[in-house]
C-alpha cells in the first residue's frame, strides 16, 4: 500500500503548502512567479490543479496587473452624461430622419418616437477638451485621468443578453466572464482572498445573476465570488456561533491530522490540496472581515469616497475594491443597478437618474484619484460603463425616457497604460451612430487583454473541440488609446 515515494510527494506538496501559507500581504512570492512561468502556445496557461490560482506571469509584457470594473447595470444614458449633442436639443420633438433608423433594432420603440435633446447642462473641463454633464460634478476632477471611449457599440439590446455579452463576449449564458479569463491567465496574488470578487449595490442584483461572473467552461476555480458589501462578505464565512478562534484552530488541526493520516494511506496529492484549502479557509475567516473593516481608513479617505462608516453601498464598495487589489485580488467587479431609464416612475431621466449619479459619481472619481495617489493606477485598469447606451429618441412612458441603444454609447477606462485625458470616438450630431473611433465590445476586450499581457487570439481554452476565446472570432486591439 505504501510503496509510492512518500518523501518526494510530500516534498512537492509541503513546499506548495508552506509556499502558500507564507505569502504575506504585499509580499508576492517571487519564486512562485518564476516557477510557474509556463505557457504553451497558443497561450494556454499551465494550471497547477493543486493550486489553480497560483500567480502566473503574462506571456507578453503587460502594462496592467489587475482590473476594477465598475458596471453600471441597466445602461446609463450617454446623452445625459457624456455626449453633448446641441443639434439633438435643437431638433427635440421632431421625427428622426428615416435613414438613421433603417436596420436598427430596438427593444421597446414602435417607430413613431421623436428626438429628445437633453435638458442637462454640459461644460468643457480639463485639458482634454471633454465636455461633461452637470450630473457628474466629481467626474470633472478626473476628466484628464481617464480615457473616454465615446464610440462604443454592442450586438444585443436586451439587458440580460447584453450584460452577458459585455462580460463574456457572447449573448447566451455558458461562457466564462472576463474576470474568469483574467484569473485563468494570471492567477491571483492573494493567498487569503479569492482572485475574482464581485460586489453589488443598488436596490437589487444585476439581471442575469451568477451567469455574469460564471467560469463557463473554464475550471470552476475561476468563477467570481460574490462578496456582500456589509455583514459577512462570503456565505458561510463565520464559524457556527459560539465557537471561539481556539475551538476553530483545534477543529482545523484535527481535520488536518485526519487528512494527513489518509494521505499517508493513499498517497493522493489531492488530499494535500484540500489541506491547503482548509488552511486558506481558516485565514479567510480573519482576512475577509479585516478587509471589510473600513474603520482603519483615514477620515480623509472616507471623505474622498463619501463613505459613511457602517453604510453599505457603491461608495463603500469602491473603497473595498481598492483594499482588495491592495491585497492582491486580481479582478474586482462592482455592479450598481437601476440605470434603466425608460421614463416610468422609478426609472426616469429626472430624479432617478440624478439619484444614480449621486450614488456613484463621487466614489468613482475618488477611486481613480486614490489609486493614483497610492501609485496603483499605473498598473490597475479601472472600467466604468453599462451594457449599452440609450436612444436619441425619447420613449414616452409616464415621463419621457430613452430606450436601449446599441450602436453608440460611452464608457471610460483609466490607468493600466491607457492614455489619460484622451477622447476617442465620435458619434454623429444626433448620436445615432459612430462616425469615427468606433469600438465594439470585442475590441474593448481585445485591448484590455493586450494591456494585461495577452494576445486575445492566443489566450484560449479548448472546450468541446474548439479553442474558445473571450473575443470569439472577433476583436482588434485599439492602439490609439494606449499610452
Amino acid at each position: 500500500m505504501n510503496d509510492y515515494p512518500k518523501n518526494e510527494l510530500q516534498d512537492a506538496t509541503r513546499r506548495h503548502f508552506f509556499g502558500q501559507c507564507a505569502v504575506g500581504l504585499g509580499s508576492i512570492a517571487l519564486n512562485c512567479l518564476l516557477a510557474r512561468d509556463g505557457w504553451s502556445a497558443p497561450q494556454r496557461p499551465k494550471i497547477d490543479p493543486a493550486n489553480p490560482m497560483a500567480p502566473r506571469k503574462s506571456p507578453l509584457p503587460a502594462k496592467a496587473k489587475r482590473v476594477i470594473y465598475l458596471f453600471m447595470a441597466g445602461a446609463p444614458s450617454q446623452l445625459e452624461l457624456f455626449s453633448d449633442k446641441p443639434k439633438l436639443r435643437e431638433l427635440t420633438g421632431q421625427s428622426p430622419p428615416p435613414s438613421l433608423l433603417k436596420g436598427r433594432r430596438f427593444a421597446f420603440l414602435k417607430g413613431n418616437e421623436k428626438l429628445l435633446g437633453t435638458k442637462r447642462q454640459f461644460s468643457r473641463c480639463g485639458q482634454s477638451g471633454m465636455t461633461l454633464s452637470e450630473l457628474l460634478p466629481h467626474h470633472h476632477k478626473i476628466v484628464d485621468e481617464v480615457c473616454w471611449l465615446r464610440g462604443m457599440s454592442t450586438d444585443v439590446f436586451n439587458h440580460g443578453p447584453a450584460k452577458l455579452f459585455m462580460n463574456t463576449g457572447f449573448q447566451i449564458p455558458g461562457r466564462p466572464a472576463f474576470g474568469g479569463w483574467v484569473t485563468y491567465g494570471l492567477g491571483s496574488e492573494s493567498a487569503d482572498l479569492p482572485g475574482f470578487v464581485v460586489l453589488q449595490s443598488g436596490r437589487r442584483g444585476p439581471r442575469g445573476g451568477a451567469s455574469l461572473w460564471s467560469s463557463g467552461f473554464l475550471p470552476t476555480s475561476f468563477q467570481g465570488v460574490p462578496f456582500r458589501g456589509s455583514g459577512d462578505p462570503i456565505l458561510n464565512l463565520q464559524s457556527p456561533s459560539g465557537l471561539t478562534r481556539e475551538n476553530e484552530r483545534d477543529f482545523y488541526d484535527i481535520v488536518g491530522v485526519l487528512n494527513k493520516a489518509r494521505f499517508d494511506q493513499t498517497g493522493d496529492p489531492e488530499i494535500m490540496t484540500r489541506m491547503n484549502a482548509y488552511e486558506m479557509a481558516f485565514r479567510m475567516q480573519t482576512s475577509a472581515p479585516e478587509l471589510m473593516d473600513l474603520s482603519k481608513e483615514s477620515a480623509a479617505t472616507l471623505a474622498l469616497y463619501g463613505v459613511k462608516p457602517g453604510e453599505a453601498g457603491f461608495a463603500a464598495n469602491a473603497l473595498l475594491a481598492r483594499r482588495m487589489i491592495e491585497r492582491g485580488v486580481r479582478f474586482v467587479q462592482l455592479y450598481h443597478t437601476d440605470w434603466d431609464h425608460h421614463g416610468e416612475r422609478g426609472n426616469n431621466l429626472d430624479d432617478d437618474l440624478e439619484a444614480r449619479c449621486r450614488e456613484v459619481d463621487q466614489a468613482s472619481a475618488a477611486l481613480v484619484l486614490d489609486l493614483k495617489q497610492r501609485g496603483l493606477l499605473e498598473d490597475t485598469i479601472v472600467i466604468w460603463g453599462g451594457e449599452f447606451g440609450r436612444t436619441p429618441m425619447g420613449e414616452v412612458r409616464e415621463t419621457t425616457g430613452r430606450d436601449h441603444h446599441i450602436d453608440a454609447f460611452t464608457i471610460w477606462v483609466a490607468g493600466g497604460g491607457f492614455k489619460p485625458g484622451y477622447l476617442f470616438g465620435e458619434t454623429d450630431e444626433l448620436g445615432f451612430g459612430v462616425v469615427e473611433g468606433g469600438m465594439h465590445v470585442h475590441d474593448l476586450h481585445a485591448t484590455l487583454l493586450h494591456q494585461l499581457g495577452f494576445d486575445h487570439e492566443q489566450l484560449t481554452y479548448r472546450f468541446q473541440g474548439r479553442d474558445f476565446r473571450l473575443t470569439d472570432v472577433h476583436g482588434k486591439v485599439e492602439k490609439n488609446i494606449l499610452a
Binding site: D3, Y4, P49, S211, S239, D253, I254, L258, Q265, Q464
Partner: protein
C-alpha cells in the same frame, strides 16, 4: 520531482494524445508504423484544417488536406502530398520552411510551428504511402480479442483489454480493494448514498473468504449479490438520473434575468423511473426526443419530451420572441449533438465545421427537425401531471403540501370538496367581494388609449377604431397579451372585459379556437413592476360563463383554471373588481391576459373598460342570500342556484384535481415552419437563395437516412441516433458511463469525438463495450453490472510509486482513482451517515435551509420557503434549482449552472468548499443528527462509550474502522473540546442538540460529539469515493 510537476501540469493541457503516446517510460506504441488516425490526423487537424479542412467557404488556395483526394491532387505540376515520395510533397517542404512567406502554418495563423519530430513523423507517413483512414469515431465498431498472460486476473471482457495493454508496458494491475472500500465505492457509485454499518459488516463477513477456489467463488457471489441489491434500489435511478439531468440541463427556473419558476420536476421523475426500470437506451432516447410522436403516446412518453423543454427562457420585456425561439432551437440541436453524438455541431451554426465533416447546410437540416415545435419563447404546451404519476402511483398530496405547491394563491379549495364546507367558504368569498354589497346603480365604464401592445409569443394584436382589440395573426396557442394603456384617472375600482365576435375569427370568434371559443386563465394589471390582482370576478349573467369555466377562474391565480363561454357569437362579459377602488401611482398600467389552460385558447377580439366605482354583482348577491338561508328555508330556485354554483366549484376543483401540475412538454405545430440556412448564424438573414431545407442528419455518420417521401420528424432523428449502425451513440454513451466510474473517459474529451478530440486510450475496449451495449439490448444496468464486476473497477485506488513516473495520469488504469463526489452526493452522504435522510423518491422540488443572503445578487428575490420537518432532509437532487441563484452548496462544489448542456463536471478543490462544509448551518444540523445517532446506537456514559462511538462514527462515514493514530487523535480532540465547552456553556448550548442532552450527556459533552461529527464530515475521506 521535476517530471512529476510537468506531468501534473499536463493534466489541463491539450496534449492528451502526446501525453499518452509519448509519456516517459511508455514504449508500447513508439516504434510502430505511423498511423493516420493516431499520429497524423491530430497534427493536421490542429495546424492545417482550419484553412485546409472541410469548411469550403474559408478554404485557402482551394487546398484541402482532410481527404486523400484533396491532398494528392495535381496542383499544376506539384502535389501537397505525393504518396511514397516525401521529397516531392509540397506539404513537407512548406512545414519545414523558414521563409516567412512560405512556411506553414503561416505566422499570421498564430499556430505553433511543426516541430522537427512532427515533420519526421509526416515524412515517415508519406514515405509509407500516406494512407488516410476515416475518422475513427465514424467507423463501424471493431471487434478484437486481446490475449493476456495473467488470465487469473481477468474477471470479464473489460479486464482482457486493460490487462493486455498493461502487460505490453510491463505494469502489474493493483490488487483488489478491501471489502470495506468496495462496498462504500459501490454504494456511492450506484446509489450516491453511504452503506449502513450493518450492511458493511454483513458484506465484509460474506466477502472475506479463504483464498481457495471455493472461497473465491463465495466471494464472487457475495460481490454479485451486493451489486444486484444496489442496482435494484430506487436510489440507483436517482444517482444515475442526476448524471443524465446534467446533460438535459434540467433546472426548476427559466433562467436569464427574471428566472421565474417552472414546472419541470415531472420530467425529472420520468428520468428516475426510466432508469430504475432499466428502460433500454434506444427507447429512452426515442421517448425524450419524440415521445409525443409515438402512436397513442402514454402520459409518461409525453412527459419525457420535457428533455428539450429544459432550454432557458428570457421573460424580460422587449425580447424578440422569434430570436428567443431560434436560440432555443439551436440549443436543442447543439445539445442533441453533444449528448448523443459527442460532437460540437454548434460549430457549424455560422459556417461549415472547421475540423469535422459537418456542413453549414447539414446543421440547418438538423435544425429543421426542431424548427416546428409549438413552444414559442415563454409559451408552450403542457400536460397535467400528478405527484407520483411518473412512478405509476399518482397520489393526492396532503392539503398543506398542495398549498405549498400552489404558492401564494387565494381561494384554493383544499382536499375533497364537501358541499357543507364549500358553502361556508363560498359565503366568505362572496362577502369579501365589494361587488356583492355594492349599491344597485349603473356605473360608468371608460375606455382608454393604448400606449403599447405586446404579445409574448409573437401574435399580432392591434387596437381597432372602436377601441376593441383584435388578433390578426397568431403563432402560439398559449400566447399572453400585454397591453400598456394610459388611463385618464388613476382610480380603478373594476375592469370589464368583453369578448366580441369578428368575421376574421374562426366561427366568428370571439376566441381563436377552431370552434370560436377561448380560455382566459389569468387577467390582472401590472404597474410599476408589481402585479395587481383582483379580489373577485363575476359574469353578470349565467350566459357569460361556462359552469366549469367561470369568470372567477381568470382571477384565482391558478393557471390551470380559466374563463370560457358557451360559444354563440354573442358578446359576453366578465367583470373584475378590486377590494376597494385602487389608486395607481402611475397613469400607465398594463393589462396582462394569459391563456395557459389549453391549446388554441387565446381571445380573438375583446374590449377592456374601466370603472371608478364598484359595479354590483347581482348574481353573487342573490347566491349569497340563498347560501345564508338554512337548507329548509331555501326556495327550490334558490337551492338550484346553490347546487349549480357548487357544481361549478367542483368542476374547477377537478382541474386542480390531485393538485396536478402542468408539466412542460414538446409538440409540433400542424404546418412545419420553413427552414433555411441562416447566414453566419443570424436568424434575420435566412439564405433563401440556397433553398428550403428538409430535416436531415450528418451524412458522414452512418447510417444514411432512407428517403421515404414523407417529411422527416424528430422520430426519424431519434431512430437514427439509436440505429445499431450508428457507431457514435453507443461509443459516446458508454464512454460517459465509464467516465463516472474512473474519473475519465476512455476518450478523455468525452464531449468531442471529432478530429480535435482526444484519441481513445483503449480503442478496442471502447468498441467492445459499445458492441456489448447493443448486444444487451441497450440495457444500461447491464453495462453498470459489467463495469463494476470487472477486476479493473475493483482495484485499489492508492497511488503507486512505480506508476508516478510512467503513467502519472493513470491512463492505463493500473489502479482505481480516488474521486471527490459531486455536490449532491456531498449532502446525500452526510444525510445517510447521520440517518436523517428522508428517502422519499420524486415529487415537487424542495427548499432545504440555505444561508441567508443568497439573493443579494439576483434581480428578483426568490420565494424560498424553507422546508420543515423531514422535507429538510431530502436528497440534494430534489433541491429547487434557480439558474440565477443556485443553492450555494451546488455552486461551491461544481454543479453546473444548467444554462446549456453539461456532459462532464469539473472537480475543484477550494477554500469555499471548506467554509461550506465547516460552517453551513445545514451541515451543522446534519452533524448534530450524526452525533445523536452515535448516542442512540451506542447508549451509555460519555467517557466509557467514547471509543465505541468514535469507531461507529468511522464506520458510518468511511465504512471502516479508524486506525490507532486516527482514533487517538480524534479522541483527544473530543476530550479537549468537552473540557473547553465546560467553561463555555453558551457555546456548548449552540452546538449541542436537544436530543443529545436528553440522552444523559452534559451540554459540553454533547457539543464535543457534534464537533467530532463536524470534523469527520470535513475530511477529504468523507467526500471522496476511494
Amino acid at each position: 520531482m521535476k517530471r512529476l510537476k510537468l506531468c501534473i501540469s499536463l493534466l489541463l493541457s491539450v496534449a492528451v494524445n502526446v501525453a499518452l503516446w509519448n509519456a516517459p517510460g511508455l514504449t508500447g506504441a513508439a516504434a510502430q508504423e505511423a498511423q493516420f488516425n493516431r499520429d497524423i490526423r491530430p497534427l493536421l487537424s490542429d495546424r492545417c484544417f482550419y484553412c485546409h479542412g472541410p469548411d469550403e467557404k474559408n478554404r485557402k488556395a482551394g487546398l484541402r488536406l482532410d481527404t486523400f483526394e484533396g491532398a494528392t491532387k495535381d496542383r499544376g505540376g506539384y502535389r501537397a502530398i505525393t504518396p511514397g515520395k516525401p521529397e516531392e510533397s509540397e506539404l513537407l517542404r512548406r512545414v519545414t520552411s523558414h521563409d516567412a512567406g512560405e512556411m506553414m502554418p503561416p505566422p499570421a495563423a498564430k499556430k505553433p510551428a511543426i516541430t522537427a519530430q512532427e515533420a519526421e513523423l509526416l515524412r515517415q507517413w508519406i514515405q509509407q504511402g500516406a494512407k488516410y483512414q476515416g475518422h475513427w469515431a465514424f467507423q463501424p465498431l471493431a471487434t478484437a480479442a486481446p490475449k493476456v498472460k495473467n488470465r487469473k486476473w481477468v474477471r470479464n471482457g473489460i479486464d482482457r483489454f486493460i490487462l493486455a495493454r498493461l502487460e505490453r508496458e510491463g505494469i502489474a494491475p493493483s490488487p483488489q480493494a478491501d471489502a470495506r472500500t468496495l462496498i462504500r465505492r459501490l454504494s456511492l457509485d450506484l446509489t450516491g448514498l453511504l452503506p449502513q454499518p450493518t450492511e458493511v459488516e454483513a458484506f465484509v463477513k460474506e466477502f472475506n473468504q479463504k483464498g481457495d477456489l471455493a472461497g473465491l467463488r463465495k466471494q464472487e457471489a457475495a460481490y454479485s449479490r451486493l451489486v444486484e441489491r444496489l442496482l435494484a434500489t430506487p436510489h440507483y435511478g436517482e444517482r444515475w438520473g442526476r448524471h443524465w439531468l446534467d446533460q438535459a440541463r434540467y433546472a426548476d427556473s427559466n433562467g436569464y434575468t427574471i428566472d421565474g419558476d417552472r414546472v419541470m420536476w415531472p420530467y425529472r421523475d420520468w428520468v428516475i423511473q426510466a432508469l430504475n426500470q432499466d428502460m433500454p437506451f434506444d427507447q429512452f432516447t426515442i421517448e425524450q426526443l419524440a415521445g409525443d410522436l409515438l402512436p397513442n403516446p402514454t402520459k409518461a412518453q409525453v412527459v419525457a419530451t420535457g428533455f428539450h423543454r429544459n432550454t432557458v427562457i428570457n421573460e424580460e420585456g422587449g425580447v424578440d420572441p422569434e430570436q428567443a425561439r431560434v436560440e432555443q432551437v439551436m440549443d436543442r440541436v447543439n445539445t442533441t449533438g453533444a449528448v448523443w453524438l459527442g460532437l460540437t455541431v454548434g460549430c457549424a451554426q455560422c459556417h461549415s465545421h472547421k475540423f469535422d465533416p459537418i456542413s453549414h447546410k447539414e446543421y440547418y437540416r438538423m435544425f429543421a427537425f426542431f424548427n416546428s415545435t409549438m413552444d414559442y419563447n415563454n409559451q408552450g404546451p403542457v400536460t397535467s401531471v400528478q405527484r407520483g404519476e411518473m412512478f405509476g402511483k399518482p397520489e393526492t398530496p396532503a392539503p398543506e403540501e398542495q398549498f405549498a405547491q400552489l404558492g401564494p394563491m387565494r381561494g384554493v379549495i383544499r382536499g375533497a370538496l364537501k358541499q357543507g364546507e364549500w358553502e361556508k367558504m363560498e359565503i366568505a368569498r362572496l362577502e369579501r367581494s365589494p361587488a356583492v354589497t355594492a349599491p344597485d346603480k349603473a356605473v360608468a365604464w371608460y375606455s382608454f388609449e393604448s400606449v403599447k401592445i405586446e404579445t409574448e409569443a409573437n401574435g399580432k394584436l392591434r387596437q381597432l377604431d372602436d377601441g376593441s382589440f383584435l388578433i390578426t395573426a397568431n403563432a402560439s396557442a398559449n400566447d399572453a397579451y400585454r397591453i400598456l394603456v394610459r388611463i385618464d384617472s388613476p382610480r380603478v375600482a373594476a375592469v370589464r372585459l368583453r369578448a366580441l365576435s369578428h368575421e376574421s375569427l374562426p366561427k366568428n370568434g370571439p376566441g381563436l379556437a377552431a370552434d370560436g371559443s377561448f380560455a382566459l386563465s389569468e387577467f390582472y394589471i401590472e404597474s410599476e413592476g408589481a402585479s395587481h390582482r383582483f379580489i373577485s370576478a363575476f359574469g353578470p349573467t349565467a350566459e357569460d360563463e361556462q359552469s366549469a369555466w367561470p369568470v372567477r377562474a381568470a382571477a384565482d391565480g391558478d393557471r390551470r383554471t380559466a374563463w370560457s363561454i358557451n360559444n354563440n357569437a354573442q358578446p359576453r362579459e366578465a367583470v373584475f373588481v378590486y377590494p376597494s377602488a385602487k389608486v395607481f401611482a402611475s397613469r400607465q398600467v398594463q393589462f396582462i391576459m394569459r391563456h395557459d389552460a389549453g391549446a388554441r385558447s387565446g381571445l380573438g377580439r375583446f374590449k377592456i373598460e374601466i370603472a371608478r366605482e364598484t359595479p354590483r354583482d347581482a348574481r353573487g348577491a342573490a347566491l349569497l342570500e340563498a347560501l345564508k338561508l338554512p337548507l329548509n328555508s331555501r326556495s327550490p330556485e334558490q337551492q338550484a342556484m346553490v347546487n349549480a354554483a357548487f357544481d361549478s366549484a367542483r368542476a374547477v376543483r377537478e382541474k386542480q384535481s390531485g393538485n396536478a401540475v402542468m408539466a412542460m412538454i414538446m409538440r409540433d405545430i400542424d404546418t412545419p415552419r420553413e427552414t433555411y440556412i441562416f447566414t453566419r448564424g443570424n436568424f434575420t438573414r435566412p439564405d433563401k437563395a440556397a433553398g428550403l431545407l428538409q430535416p436531415g442528419v450528418i451524412s458522414a455518420i452512418p447510417p444514411a437516412l432512407p428517403e421515404t417521401g414523407k417529411t422527416r420528424t424528430r422520430m426519424d432523428l431519434a431512430k437514427w441516433l439509436v440505429d445499431p449502425a450508428n457507431p457514435l451513440t453507443p461509443r459516446v454513451t458508454i464512454n460517459r458511463i465509464w467516465m463516472r466510474y474512473f474519473g475519465r473517459g476512455l476518450v478523455e474529451t468525452e464531449e468531442d469525438f471529432g478530429a480535435q478530440g482526444a484519441q481513445p486510450t483503449h480503442p478496442e475496449l471502447l468498441d467492445w463495450l459499445s458492441g456489448e451495449f447493443i448486444r444487451h439490448g441497450w440495457s444500461m444496468k447491464a453495462m453498470h453490472r459489467l463495469i463494476v464486476t470487472s477486476a479493473t473497477y475493483r482495484q485499489a485506488s492508492a497511488a503507486r510509486k512505480d506508476l508516478i513516473e510512467i503513467d502519472p495520469r493513470n491512463l492505463l488504469l493500473a489502479r482505481q482513482e480516488r474521486l471527490r463526489v459531486e455536490a449532491e452526493i456531498v449532502r446525500d452522504a452526510a444525510l445517510s451517515a447521520s440517518g436523517l435522510l428522508n428517502a422519499r423518491i420524486g415529487g415537487p422540488s424542495v427548499r432545504p435551509p440555505q444561508p441567508a443572503g443568497v439573493y443579494a445578487f439576483t434581480q428578483s428575490r426568490k420565494n424560498w420557503m424553507t422546508a420543515s420537518g423531514t422535507e429538510r432532509f431530502r436528497r440534494a437532487l430534489y433541491t429547487h434549482y434557480y439558474r440565477s441563484a443556485p443553492y450555494p452548496l451546488f455552486t461551491t462544489f461544481d454543479t453546473p449552472d444548467f444554462q446549456t448542456v453539461c456532459t462532464r463536471r469539473q472537480r475543484s478543490n477550494t477554500p469555499l468548499q471548506s467554509l461550506t462544509l465547516a460552517n453551513d448551518p445545514a451541515f451543522l444540523e446534519i452533524a448534530q443528527g450524526l452525533a445523536a445517532r452515535l448516542v442512540r446506537d451506542e447508549p451509555g456514559e460519555f467517557a466509557a462509550k467514547l471509543d465505541a462511538r468514535l469507531r461507529h462514527a468511522f464506520t458510518l462515514c468511511f465504512s471502516r474502522e479508524p486506525n490507532p493514530a486516527e482514533l487517538v487523535a480524534l479522541r483527544g480532540y473530543v476530550e479537549r473540546q468537552a473540557q473547553g465547552f465546560a467553561s463555555q456553556p453558551a457555546s456548548a448550548r449552540t452546538l449541542a442538540s436537544k436530543e443529545l442532552i436528553g440522552a444523559g450527556l452534559t451540554e459540553a459533552q454533547s457539543a464535543a460529539l457534534v464537533a467530532a461529527a463536524r470534523a469527520l464530515f470535513n475530511t477529504d475521506n468523507f467526500i471522496t469515493r476511494e
